[in-house]
């Protein structure tokens, strides 16, 4: 039973008293309180014994975006609270920024530049022997570089290229794994898998020159350099002038990298 309290203008709900509000009523007698409610007993001096109930109203709901037409005729959006006829102003959409170009997104430009560089005098023909470097590079990037692509070469294996987190001092690395089956100390089967990993560090400072800095000419040189390591692994060291920065025992050799840089200088010529 609900009736109005003539003294305070409140509503009685069941056995208690509640305040009037715009939201749905909740009380201890019927509807489950949505948030919380307080109750206090009137002083015993009051001739009428009852509860004053403070009721928390239901959450009217979070504002939602709805489409509208702005004053300039463009499609916009406005915030509307469910159940509330008043709506916010109609604002036009801000165009989203173009998606950033990272990793593979930069590959087509770098590949095109690398192919152009390889065609320069003293670059492709002087540093890669055997299969045409342009074909090998395209197959490496396209994910189709395997032994079956070169039936006249004595290779069984494949090579792939990808991106990953590397130490800050490395632009790229070429890793290799070779599986061999031997019989009486003779290799009867050997399969080589080469993986080129390009450092995808996001550092666009001019001195950084990582792949994702977006310098096409530098990225092209990175591809050509790593292509040399792929050649060495798949076709043998005699197939390229590019060598690892290591001696035969694996110890570091900085002079090798200086030779690589000199060998690839014609590729970077204007």
């Amino acid at each position: 039973m609900i009736k109005e309290d003539p003294r305070k203008g409140e509503w009685e709900i069941g056995s208690g008293w509640g305040r009037r509000g715009s939201g749905p009523w909740v009380s201890r007698t019927g509807v489950v309180p949505e948030l919380s409610w307080l109750s206090r007993r009137k002083p015993s001096s009051d001739p009428i014994s009852f509860h004053f109930v403070t009721i928390s109203f239901r959450d009217p709901g979070s504002p939602v975006d709805t489409t509208c037409v702005a004053s300039d005729g463009q499609l916009g959006f406005q915030q509307v609270i469910p159940g509330d006829p008043a709506a916010g102003p109609c604002a036009t959409y801000t165009p989203a920024p173009p998606p950033p170009c990272y990793d593979w997104c930069l590959m087509p430009a770098a590949e095109a530049q690398a192919l152009a560089d390889l065609a320069k005098p003293g670059c492709g023909s002087a540093n890669f022997f055997g299969p045409a470097p342009a074909v090998v590079l395209a197959a490496l990037i396209g994910g189709t570089l395997s032994g079956t692509l070169f039936p006249h070469e004595t290779i069984v294996g494949q090579a792939s290229i990808g991106f990953g987190t590397l130490p800050g001092f490395a632009a790229a690395v070429t890793a290799d794994s070779t599986s061999r089956i031997t019989h009486l100390r003779h290799v009867v089967f050997s399969e080589t898998n080469v993986t080129v990993i390009i450092n995808n560090t996001l550092d666009s400072s001019p001195a950084a020159a990582y792949w994702n800095a977006g310098y096409t000419s530098i990225n092209a040189m990175t591809l050509i350099h790593e292509l040399g390591h792929v050649y060495a692994d798949l076709f043998g060291q005699q197939s390229t002038t590019i060598v690892h920065d290591a001696n035969k025992d694996g110890s570091p050799n900085g002079a090798n990298e200086a030779r690589n840089a000199a060998a690839l200088a014609p590729c970077n010529a204007p």
Binding site: G168, F169, D176, T178, H229, H244, G250, G254
Partner: protein, 173 residues
Amino acid sequence: MQCALRLTTVRGPSTMLKLICVLFLLTALRQACALTPISPCDLDTRSLDHRHVAVSVRVLFTMNGAWTLPEASCRGREARAFAALAFPQDGNPVVDFRTEPGSEEKLKPYYRLRGGSSVACVSLEGQLFVVKRFRSTRVGGVFSGNGFGEGGRARSALVVQRVVSASPCDPSP
């Protein structure tokens, strides 16, 4: 000794045992955390595995990585006494510290991301990792090993915690 005797008398042998255990643990903890100054020739020493070390060493930077260089004094160990440089954020090997701010900045002038190489004389502190059963093979011109750095060709890795100083230096030992 007097203290130990007194404890034995007053609290019994179990208290002394506890004290010895605590002292043992503290000593082990101190050994694990203490900075051990080492020579560049010691970078492949198994007993230094996981130890925090301080070393002054020449470091070679190329576009494929960074390696410490053996010294002329490392006679007979030139092929072993080097380590791949790494940073904690690389995640290999995993460490429980971060590089002190500003440390990598000291090394950046020597990075050679566009090719070529540079050598810096670096004084640094870090954690050393040495592979127990190291294997490395060379097929064509490429290395394949179970160690660290490009192709896993280094038996050891030195994870940089702090670069004290870095200056240009002679590439030859």
